[in-house]
Amino acid sequence: MNIATYILRRGIFAIFVLLSVMTITFVLSHSLGGDPIYSWLGKAAGLHPQLAAAYAAKYHLNDPVYVQYYYYLVNLSQGNLGYSPSRNFVPVAQVISQTLPYTLQIAFFAIMMTLIVGILLGVTSARYNHTSIDNGIRAAYMAGYGSPPFFVGLVLLIIFTYHFGLLPSGGAFDPNLTPPTWITGIPMIDSLLEGNFQYFGSAIIHVILPSLALAICFFGIVTRVLRSSMLEVMHANYIRTARAKGLDEGTIFYKHGLRHALIPIVSLSSLIVTWIITGTIFVENIFSYPGMGRYVVQALNGQDYPGILGTTIVYAIVIVASNLAADILYAVVDPQVRLG
């Protein structure tokens, strides 16, 4: 299979997954959950019967289920996600377009930190295999893996903010600074494009703790996999050849070994991306970061059904899209994948 066919296959599969997410959301919200009018309008449905009737007509709620399903998909594809009761009936799509960029910022930094910490510690524990350094690293990733992200976030908050006063307790930037104008939609990139370095610096300071919390929870899997793949690679024939050529152990380890040992990490990337995007929901709430996770919890508390369903679908799109990207990356790095 060549790479184009492979990407096409993965792409079709991704669309399949998205369709099934939408179908599940539809089934649960329209047939099982009882009254969809209530779930779209909330309490307003009971207070204004004529509004409810207008909604029923507008969303074809009196038609058979398959017709409803058709219009549901049409609405979704047009970005019509309803209005959000928990945010003064602003369109859900608008709230999401304002909050999603912040979620992407945290996710980006968290993925970077997870990879950097995970790879550094993985290499170190393979290098010092079966020493106290190796055991210490194992204990560290066990502790990180066992702790839920919201717990790690709270501990970081207690240590770095309340005890040492080093980092801000929450928010995405210093509220005294003027946010950049909308260019790409992602505040950090926009501030760099504008040359607003003060804002950029403040945004970086605010993103450290939430993304560090996620990195602490998830670096373990990278470390663990890299350690074992590194130990395996170091027994390979080409490494023995390199040793026979008289290269020093450091060069062999870092230049020849690490390069091959990193390949399995790429196969983990879709798993890590899913965990981290799910994890942003928790850390955004701990650090009052104005992303989609904060919105979804508001929506959950306020029984804002359009808000929950809208964010659910956007989370699914983000996760499926980044898994697709990870699959493609893996196929580029490791040609064997394309055969399967």
């Binding site: 959950g33 502790a143 709270l154 501990v155 309340y162 995007i277």
Partner: protein, 293 residues
């Protein structure tokens, strides 16, 4: 004691556990954490049904006089913002985690083993269809499904259990398929086929017992993951309703008291971490012990 092909006797399960403890001493800790966790869950549930309270205080009894008081001999883990005893609340929430983790993993094993072994054993179109279906379910993010279910059915312990059960089985199905492909062409299966046994009979008698060990090791590690994910759902307020206690819920309702009472979120957090690490250390130990054979 059974004799194996080499004429030496097979080690009993007890011997195996001893070997594991010797090889990986940390699995002793894991073993005791797991036993304590399960026992607490069972004892609290049984006594709860009998109407006898095993916790030192009533976990939902408010006592404003001792609100936010620190750990002491009277209140081992201190009291929360309503003066409820945190130790009692932690103990009372263990049954939730035992129930969720074991039922989710149990159903996942059953569903996964049946679908996976059927796919691997039958092959062809059925295999292809079942495995693509597995792929799709595997790609659904658990939190997303849980939130949608919370919208449709409302929050609650059983609803979250359902949400996790719906999507937890795919790794087990893949494992079962791989293993059953491996055993499907071995002589004893061929013999059973020639003897005219029906597919389901062969599956239950010969294929499933052969894949159970791999799945059990994975399941031990997996229980920890279920507990972590469930804690997250509970933290988001999707599980038990107040005033009932739950580990995740205890963290979320005490996070406004980080300065005045930092132990309130820290203690349930550590309890979650200890349980999860216990299962994963034990799972690692079992796997290492099996690999050494």
């Amino acid at each position: 004691m059974k004799q194996n092909a080499q004429g030496t006797s097979d080690p009993t399960p007890f011997d195996r556990v001893l070997t594991m403890f010797k090889k990986t001493p940390e699995s002793i800790v894991g073993f005791f954490v797991v036993v304590l966790f399960i026992l607490t869950g069972i004892i609290v549930t049984i006594f709860d049904l009998l109407g006898i309270r095993v916790t030192p205080y009533n976990p939902i009894q408010q006592n404003v006089g001792v609100a936010l008081s620190g750990p002491s001999w009277d209140h081992l883990f201190g009291c929360d913002f309503l003066g409820r005893d945190v130790f009692s609340r932690v103990i009372a929430s263990v049954p939730n985690d035992v129930a969720v983790s074991f039922s989710v993993v149990f159903v996942a094993i059953i569903v996964g083993a049946l679908l996976g072994s059927l796919a691997g054993f039958k092959g062809g179109l059925l295999d292809e269809l079942l495995m693509r279906f597995t792929d799709v379910i595997f790609s659904l993010p658990v939190l997303v499904i849980a939130m949608v279910i919370a919208v449709a059915l409302g929050p609650g312990l059983t609803h979250m259990m359902i949400a996790m059960i719906v999507i937890w089985w795919p790794p087990y199905a893949r494992m079962a398929r791989g293993e059953s492909l491996r055993v499907a062409h071995q002589n004893f299966i061929e013999a059973a086929k020639f003897a005219g046994q029906r597919t389901l009979g062969i599956l239950f008698k010969h294929v499933l017992p052969n894949i159970s060990i791999t799945m059990l090791v994975y399941a031990t590690l997996d229980v920890g993951t279920v507990i972590l994910v469930y804690a997250g759902l509970s933290y988001l307020g999707l599980s038990v309703r107040p005033p009932l206690p739950d580990l995740g819920e205890m963290i979320s309702n005490s996070q406004d008291y980080l300065i005045t009472a930092p132990w309130l979120p820290i203690i349930p957090g550590i309890v979650i971490a200890v349980i999860v690490i216990g299962f994963s250390v034990l799972g690692d130990g079992i796997r290492d012990a099996l690999e050494a054979r």
